[in-house]
């Protein structure tokens, strides 16, 4: 059972977030902290260097996308050489079934998981729980979210929407933690709780930040070391990886594994930066006995070779969420599916269908911050504009706008009609005062509207005393 899509309720969900003071505080602080840390790290060696890194990363991903079919075959070959068992899943149902089959085959009961947005997309946890498996999220943020019965609100900081006090309450309520407001004590408590699960798990599930085709390796980055526990302690490891996570070379991985943490948490490197190469060998002291890679499509190849192909370059760093002034006011849950913020506003309609996410392309002031901070230079504002175009063409625009836009275009193609419109607006304002008709009434809900000028510019221009070309005014010292 995948996550229910609630994106058409965006405005109502946003309203809830806008009225939640704790969330406002937590998201406002979390996004800004990450935003400024990113600036410090990304441009530590100068603006030019940072920008160059960004373009190099973008090109590594673009190249991988251009060669996607070939690279996937290459990756499969090399993964197998490393001892991985490779499976392919077209959609969520297939991916989850593969996970359940593997669990059954190896008699797994307890599953530890490191953070994976793909499994959020697939609803893998609920599929496993429905089959009687015990699933434990081990990333601290995900652990809290799982205990609270919620979903991640941010790609990198899943619990960004909660304050420290709210997290304390979750631990006290769900795990009988002795109340404390000390963050270190809370973390130590969670670590103790997780220790047994790490040691007793039969199966570990991870995502994959990158899939390196030339070596058949999984690039996995994390800060808590939990991913290492999940991928090395249990008997079985499954990595669920979206097909777009592929890169060609270790060199490309080296570039991307720098811009990812710089962009997301402002770290030069994550605390743990791993390249996984299959199950434990005979001469190694640890590592899983069985290691699987499930390559998941789940809508990605439908995006491939469209005008939105570039969005498949996304490395899920969350920088666009931190930079987005819309996201900063409400966090990720309002977007109504797995991904929030600008990347979510683009990915959601593409993954779940435009008709199930009609408000999202409009959930942006098109300020351009998302593109500016994107480590792989995805032109998210342009995609939002294109999705709006798609909405109009598919008849999904809000009632009234079609006619209004047609009328507007008629008005704007004649200076006489334009001037007449101006006069009507002035007259209307004189009669109606600050109350504005139709959707424009939404303006005066929070802001005053200025008065229309008694004379428009075109009239002032006509009435202006004729000026000769004032070359004589060009004074020395000005040129």
């Amino acid at each position: 059972m995948t996550l229910e899509v609630q994106s058409n309720d965006f405005i109502a969900l946003a309203d809830i977030a806008l009225h939640n003071d704790d969330l406002q505080h937590a998201i406002g602080e979390g996004t800004r902290t990450a935003y400024y840390r990113r600036l410090d790290t990304m441009f530590a060696h100068g603006d030019e260097h940072g920008e160059f890194m960004r373009q190099q990363a973008a090109e590594a991903k673009r190249r991988a996308l251009r060669e996607l079919p070939d690279l996937l075959e290459k990756a499969e070959r090399n993964l197998k050489k490393n001892g991985y068992q490779v499976e392919w899943a077209e959609d969520a149902a297939q991916a989850n079934q593969l996970v359940l089959d593997i669990a059954r085959r190896h008699q797994a009961h307890t599953v530890t998981k490191s953070k994976s947005m793909l499994t959020e997309e697939l609803g893998t946890n609920s599929a496993m729980e429905a089959a009687g498996l015990r699933v434990v999220e081990t990333d601290l943020g995900e652990y809290i979210i799982q205990l609270a019965g919620e979903t991640p609100s941010h790609i990198v900081g899943p619990v960004m929407h909660k304050t420290k006090a709210e997290i304390r309450d979750v631990f006290v309520r769900e795990l009988d933690m002795a109340p404390t407001d000390n963050a270190e004590e809370m973390v130590a408590f969670a670590r103790r709780m997780l220790r047994d699960d790490f040691l007793n798990a039969d199966m570990g599930i991870s995502g994959g930040n990158f899939l390196i085709a030339e070596t058949g390796s999984i690039g996995l980055v994390m800060n808590e070391g939990n991913g290492r526990m999940c991928t090395s302690l249990p008997r079985v490891h499954i990595a669920l990886i979206g097909i777009e996570k592929i890169v060609d070379t270790v060199e490309d991985y080296a570039t991307l594994t720098q811009v990812l943490p710089s962009s997301s948490t402002g770290q030069k490197m994550t605390v743990y930066t791993n390249i996984l190469n299959g199950p434990g060998r005979a001469d190694e002291g640890d590592g899983p006995e069985q290691a699987y890679v499930i390559l998941v499509d789940n809508g990605r190849s439908d995006i491939y070779a469209t005008k939105y192909t570039e969005v498949l370059s996304c490395i899920r760093c969350g920088a666009c969420q931190n930079a987005c002034p819309v996201y900063r006011t409400m966090g990720g849950h309002a977007y109504g599916w797995v991904y929030g913020g600008p990347i979510g506003a683009v990915l959601t309609p593409l993954f779940v269908g435009l008709e199930k996410a009609t408000p999202l392309p409009h959930a942006s002031s098109l300020c351009g911050s998302c593109k500016q901070v994107c480590p792989v230079d995805i032109d998210l504002p342009r995609m939002l504009l294109d999705l709006r175009w798609d909405l109009v063409r598919e008849g999904e625009s809000q009632a009234g706008w079609d006619a209004a836009m047609k009328m507007w275009a008629i008005g704007m193609t004649s200076p006489a009609r334009f001037a007449l419109g101006g006069k009507a607006a002035r007259a209307g304002q004189a009669i109606m005062g600050d109350y504005m008709p139709g959707p424009l009434g939404n303006w005066s809900k929070h802001r005053d509207f200025p008065d229309f000028a008694p004379k428009p510019f075109r009239q002032l221009w006509k009435e202006r005393a004729p000026t000769l070309y004032p070359a004589t005014k060009m004074r020395e010292g000005l040129s």
Binding site: L18, C367, D390, L391, M412, P415, A425, W443, F457, L460
Partner: protein
């Protein structure tokens, strides 16, 4: 984003694209632009058939309507050598989006779109980067302190930001100070402000808090649409601070009564 290469505008006649909002609501800002351009010795004309750049339709996804209005723009400015507009947003529409609105198969409109993109300048950009004039040799009648709000399309669309600061810092009696989060959107976003008014307002309130906390008595920006949003909120919140268009600040030093 690479912008089309452009010829120097020095010595050319300027056709003012005043924009629809300036025309109807802030005509004095249009006159300030004219005064400053003439002050630096530029010949200005006002092509009378002009209306709007088509951005409202374009941003709303109505490409057919946007194309219709853009074609009207081509007609209105067909004789222009250089176009200057007191709006980073409208300038970005012409320079970034017109070339996307038409394809080579469209023939003449496509050529026109490329040409318009290559001759259009935002006001502060035209002065500082186009003409190379940051020092207007002007002094305000009394001391004032300013901070810049970087309107989004100018800053991230056109790479502006430096030009308005240059112009203000060379202005006599003007002190330039900081506005926290000066690069963050005010929440206007065109139709966004009426489609999602509560979200737009949450963004606006953040901007208002920063404006009220700034040491500047006046906030300067290059787009009247953002200015309308911010002043609408400042007025509703009974704040004494206001946002003023760059051209009006500069023109005040010419001795007018506009800012």
């Amino acid at each position: 984003m690479a912008l089309p290469a452009r010829e120097s505008p020095i010595g050319k006649r300027v056709s003012l694209f005043v924009t629809c909002i300036v025309d109807m609501i802030y005509p004095n800002t249009g006159m300030s632009v004219v005064d400053i351009l003439e002050h630096v010795g530029v010949e200005v004309d006002f092509p009378p058939d002009q209306t709007c750049c088509a951005q409202p339709a374009f941003n709303a996804g109505y490409r057919a309507e946007a194309r219709t209005v853009a074609k009207h723009f081509f007609k209105a400015f067909k004789d222009a050598e250089v176009i200057v507009t007191p709006s980073g947003s409208c300038a970005a529409m012409v320079r970034h989006e017109y070339p996307h609105l038409f394809t080579p198969e469209d023939g003449e409109p496509y050529e026109q779109a490329q040409r318009m993109a290559s001759i259009t300048w935002e006001f502060s950009e035209f002065l500082v980067e186009g003409l190379g004039i940051a020092n207007l040799d002007l002094t305000l009648p009394e001391k004032r302190s300013f901070a810049i709000h970087d309107a989004c399309h100018g800053l991230r669309g056109l790479g502006l930001g430096g030009a308005s600061r240059d112009l203000i810092s060379h202005l006599g009696n003007a002190e330039l100070t900081e506005l926290n989060e000066c690069e963050v959107c005010c929440g206007f976003g065109g139709l966004f402000s009426v489609k999602m008014p509560d979200i737009s307002n949450a963004m606006l309130q953040n901007k208002i808090d920063n404006i009220n906390a700034s040491a500047a008595d006046t906030i300067v920006t290059g787009d009247v649409s953002c200015l309308t949003q911010m002043n609408g909120g400042l007025s509703r919140k009974k704040s004494g601070k206001r946002v003023v268009h760059l051209a009006d600040v500069l023109a005040q030093a010419l001795g007018g009564e506009r800012a």
